[in-house]
């Protein structure tokens, strides 16, 4: 597809209002792209989807898809939902309870002549891997099966945009894993803009090609899931993506490929960071996977940079890993969180109270602009 062709099918949204749900954002989603809208409750994720579908009317805004304008408050254009070519999968699927799976899909095929609807509905159900259950009513289907019917119904209108509102929240974990793959497959088969809302970062990373982090109706950061999760643009974004280890420090030197930070008297080595001059107060964060932990008596740790001694505060066994909190020595006693393989504690005999050494991988240290209030050490 040419660049011009891509632009033709792109979804463009700009929304602005102060009340009752604050919104101030503009974003676009190209055909074939899966964009995840991620953020805490009340961040406006669902309202954005509803505004695109025409189920919510923002005080001011535009929604255009290709050449078609669905909403333009300045020009008093506001197409009702049934005149917008949009597919929407609701959080609880909202299937028509009195209709069979097939009839649910056929109901959205009003643009086809009557006799063709049944055949096309059948094809769509096969497309989402729902076979043999066409004549069941929604109440007789499992959560995963209902989700497939809802997706087939959303695709039935031959939509210009596909919207999914927390589509995986009502199914069990095993089904969810399978549905992730199916959604990715679907985005290849139907090259239209796909937006989906989730509050699960892991889910966004698995399914989306781009991720938009929202807070109180504004975009904090937009980029690949990897970038947003590992390199948050601000302390606020870092907190929202649940990056646990966020601290403040001061740049003391730039030296060749490295920069040096002063962290409450501790010296930290990081890859060179040009955007912050020497002397500036910054915030930094490190993912739990970038913290190495060893027993203090192991001397191999001596060769690693950014080594600090401390004590294990807490150790929680999760299904596949171990969540460890270490309190570093020093008056500020900062708490570092990290995840380790589940067998680690058993093998090393570590437990709460054990003296340990941690090493912070310089490449894992991510530097952000400091908060003006200087409260970066607060969780």
């Amino acid at each position: 597809m040419s660049a011009a062709g891509m632009a033709d099918d792109t979804l463009m949204i700009a929304l602005k209002q102060r009340w009752p749900i604050p919104l101030d954002l503009s974003l676009s989603c190209a055909a074939g792209e899966v964009l995840a809208l991620v953020g805490p409750s009340g961040s406006g994720k669902s309202t954005i989807l509803r505004s695109i579908a025409g189920l919510y009317r923002p005080a001011a805004g535009q929604v255009t898809v290709g050449g078609a304008t669905w909403l333009d408050t300045a020009r008093r254009i506001d197409l009702p939902p049934h005149r917008r070519r949009v597919g929407l999968v609701f959080q609880n699927y909202a299937l028509f309870p009195h209709m069979t799976a097939l009839a649910n899909v056929a109901a959205a095929l009003g643009h086809l002549p009557g006799p063709e609807r049944g055949r096309r509905a059948g094809e769509l159900l096969e497309r989402v891997n729902l076979t043999d259950l066409h004549n069941r009513k929604p109440a007789e289907l499992s959560g995963g099966q209902q989700q497939r019917v809802a997706v087939a119904r959303a695709l039935a209108r031959d939509p210009d945009v596909l919207l999914l509102d927390e589509p995986f929240s009502a199914v069990d974990r095993v089904t969810r894993q399978r549905l992730y793959g199916e959604l990715r497959e679907l985005s290849r088969a139907f090259p239209i803009p796909i937006l989906f809302v989730t509050h699960d970062f892991d889910e966004a990373a698995r399914v989306a090609s781009r991720m938009c982090l929202l807070d109180r109706g504004s975009i904090l950061q937009i980029g690949t899931p990897r970038d947003v999760l590992a390199r948050p643009a601000s302390v606020q974004a870092a907190r929202l993506v649940d990056l646990k280890n966020i601290f403040s420090a001061r740049i003391v030197a730039h030296d060749g490929p490295r920069s040096w930070l002063d962290w409450n008297g501790r010296r930290l080595e990081t890859p060179r960071t040009e955007s912050h001059p020497v002397g500036s107060e910054i915030a930094w964060a490190i993912a739990g996977t970038q913290v190495l932990l060893s027993r203090t008596d192991l001397d191999q740790a001596d060769r690693l940079p950014n080594r600090f001694s401390g004590t294990i505060r807490d150790l929680v066994h999760l299904s596949e890993s171990l969540a460890v909190t270490v309190s570093l020595d020093g008056r500020d006693a900062p708490l570092l969180s990290m995840t380790l393989p589940a067998h680690y504690a058993r093998r090393t005999g570590l437990g709460p109270g054990s003296a340990v050494t941690v090493a912070l991988m310089p490449e894992g240290i991510h530097i952000m602009a400091g908060e003006s209030e200087g409260r970066a050490d607060l969780p």
Binding site: A53, H82, R84, L88, F96, P97, H98, A107, R157
Partner: protein, 222 residues
């Protein structure tokens, strides 16, 4: 048995039901799906006939549409007879008295449809009329039918308003409940007894139907 009175009652019931079906659908949906300031007052006003003595409703109807009022004058000029003490007058009274019986069950049934289901219908390309015909009515039909049955049963038994607005003109405004009263006044207890038994049987059948239906109404869909 006063067959003229019985057939008049049934005719009045059917006409009232026919008029209140569209009124109930429109008002019931409006009250179920729209939030607006003063909605409680509108609902209260529509429920008034449930608690007001029928004579009060009848009195206001006489005052409102009687021969000396503008509405009454207009009616007389247009149709050549008074609205009160005529079958048409009875229909007006019956429709007003039955508003809550028709609207409330329909409103409850529409309220039981999850909003997302109607939104999903709109997003699936269904126009508002198609949403009414393919989603609202199929999902709320028990409530709609219940409103109509309740209206019909209540019309058969209505006495006070009918007497106030219609009087007791045979073949025009004398319904079966008035006929029973007439027969008792004339010490014709045998006729009164037969008609009372007939009305009792009809009421029992319609109420039985209502209870069967009401076990489905208000159950949330979706």
């Amino acid at each position: 048995m006063d067959w003229v009175a019985l057939s008049l009652s049934i005719k009045l019931g059917l006409v009232t039901v026919a008029l209140l079906l569209p009124v109930g659908l429109v008002a019931g949906r409006w009250l179920a799906y729209t939030a607006f300031a003063g909605k409680g007052w509108v609902e209260a006003a529509l429920a008034l006939p449930l608690v007001l003595p029928p004579t009060v409703v009848g009195y206001y109807l006489l005052v409102g549409v009687g021969g000396a009022t503008p509405i009454g004058q207009f009616w007389k000029a247009a149709f050549g007879h008074n609205l009160v003490f005529s079958f048409e007058g009875l229909v007006v009274a019956s429709v007003i008295v039955n508003l809550p019986f028709a609207i409330q069950p329909m409103q409850r049934a529409f309220e039981a449809i999850a909003p997302e289901i109607r939104e999903a219908a709109a997003v699936s390309g269904l126009s508002p009329l198609q949403v009414l015909l393919r989603i609202d009515i199929p999902l709320a039909w028990q409530g709609i039918l219940m409103g109509l049955v309740l209206t019909f049963a209540h019309t058969l038994g209505e006495f006070g308003v009918v007497l106030m607005v219609g009087g007791s003109i045979s073949g025009e405004t004398k319904t079966i409940s008035i006929a029973i009263y007439d027969r008792v006044q004339a010490f014709d207890t045998q006729s009164a007894g037969i008609m009372a038994a007939a009305l009792l049987a009809m009421s029992l059948v319609t109420l039985g139907l209502i209870y069967r239906l009401s076990s489905h109404v208000g159950r949330r869909h979706g």
